[in-house]
Subunit: 288 residues, 2 copies
């Protein structure tokens, strides 16, 4: 039996961490002195602790580790979970590498100082459309496009006719910083060809009328959706400078999504209305 500091030395885990694991029930000392409250660990518990550390290293949270160790799952299932984690890790490595690419781009951009691109903004009218749509919680654009293509496949195999470009609708301004956000994938369809696709999709797809918009500030964006933010700036500037305000969620019409991401063509739309929010507090006019 070892005192906590000795067990700490053997396990290379901090005393505070051992106490914490005791507190949350992840690794309770074999024995606790009633009088003093001193914790005593057996060397046998080192193996358990090592398992915990290994799982932690794999990226599991302590709560999950608790379950894994507690439930005494069949090894097959454990292997499954590990494989899953492995896949996750590989994804992480990938996304880190992509981040490196972005860093490179940023560095270039800073080298050539400030670049400010201005895109042409047009004001147009958009008619109402019947769309088959589905709402998804997705992490990044790749996944969104993947979900979208799955949906297109589903519609095609169910005989639904697509009559216009697919579009994404960002809902409720419900952006979250963990890069998860709710998008609606909407495909304009021939309403007579819809049939019972709603039921066949198990309710995941709904059909509704996407309302028309009298004034839609619109901009064509040529390039990867990942760098699309710069276009939002142009749009926002136009809206502000022309005395409009935004009245609804943003739509992204996918005009071309084939080949390289940098060759994608997207129309970004914001429904707007005249009526600026003035710089200062609304002036109060006295009558007369």
């Amino acid at each position: 039996m070892f005192k906590i500091s000795d067990f700490s030395r053997l396990s290379q885990v901090s005393v505070r961490t051992l106490r914490y694991y005791d507190e949350i029930g992840l690794l309770k000392p074999l024995q606790v002195d009633e009088g003093s409250g001193y914790r005593y660990y057996s060397i046998d518990q080192l193996q358990q602790l090592n398992r915990i550390l290994a799982l932690k290293d794999l990226g599991f949270e302590l709560a999950q580790i608790f379950q894994l160790l507690d439930e005494d799952l069949p090894p097959a299932q454990i292997r499954g979970m590990l494989r899953l984690k492995q896949a996750e890790l590989q994804l992480r490595v990938q996304s880190e590498q992509e981040r490196l690419v972005r860093v490179e781009a940023r560095l270039k951009q800073i080298e050539m100082d400030e670049v400010d691109l201005t895109h042409e903004v047009a004001l147009k009218k958009v008619k109402p459309q019947i769309v088959a749509s589905s709402r998804k919680l997705a992490a990044d654009i790749k996944i969104k496009y993947q979900l979208a293509s799955e949906m297109l496949d589903f519609l095609k195999t169910n005989g639904v006719k697509q009559v216009d470009h697919m579009l994404f609708i960002d809902h409720d301004g419900d952006y979250r910083n963990d890069d998860l956000s709710v998008v609606e994938i909407a495909v304009p369809v021939n309403s007579s060809s819809v049939g019972n696709v709603v039921e066949r999709s198990g309710g995941r797809i709904t059909v509704r009328e996407l309302p028309g918009v009298n004034a839609m500030a619109s901009l064509l964006y040529h390039g990867s959706p990942a760098t699309m933010i710069e276009a939002y700036q142009s749009l926002g500037r136009w809206i502000q400078d022309n005395g409009y305000c935004i009245t609804g969620p943003c739509r992204k019409v996918c005009l071309r999504q084939e080949g390289e991401l940098s060759a994608y063509l997207t129309e970004i739309q914001f429904p707007v209305e005249k009526g600026e929010i003035t710089d200062s507090k609304p002036t109060v006019y006295f009558s007369g």
Copy 2:
């Protein structure tokens, strides 16, 4: 000017995050209505926000971003910091890949069920030694070995004679879970050759007598220091089973550190004493 939700749509940043950035002073809205408290943002602030997001993407913390934007640093310095971050990111990618390797190893280990290696433990006496030592806060073994070799170089170029194997001493059981821990790198030296190396090192190196130990539980570990934990288990088991207890910090004597990590040879030492901590509460003997 845009209300917070519209600015959220334009920037793809959640309303809550915008409020948070206001709260910490990172991005204050251009204007706040006195009566209602409503926040109003100008499109010009989008560029600033994008800069913030870019820096965040690079892995900076918000506090650092605050400084970067606030201090209006010269671009050269900014570039420097970005390059630094880039290097960090590359390291992260590397370490993630190493983690993947570990996962692979773990998977194998689980496939072949439980493997329990037992190492031979010896009890020996260790004489006191004069050592030149230096304490470092280091993240992982690689870095520790790097620091060690730097120190060896320094000693050699200053004419100090090494008379025995270098060793690491884990201090105070001060392990921390962020993988940072304090190690002492100690090199047994010929005390007459030390000269004024202490001053020349700027006090980073000290010379002292490493105390001898009457009973040292010792074990030879052949393999990468990264997987050394398994040896601690054997040592701990021996100590427990033979009725000893640990009386000081662990020492790792580096017997061979050349070539592949897996070819490293290390002696792990724990100072011990007879006197077991019993399983149950210490029995109270009545006199007589």
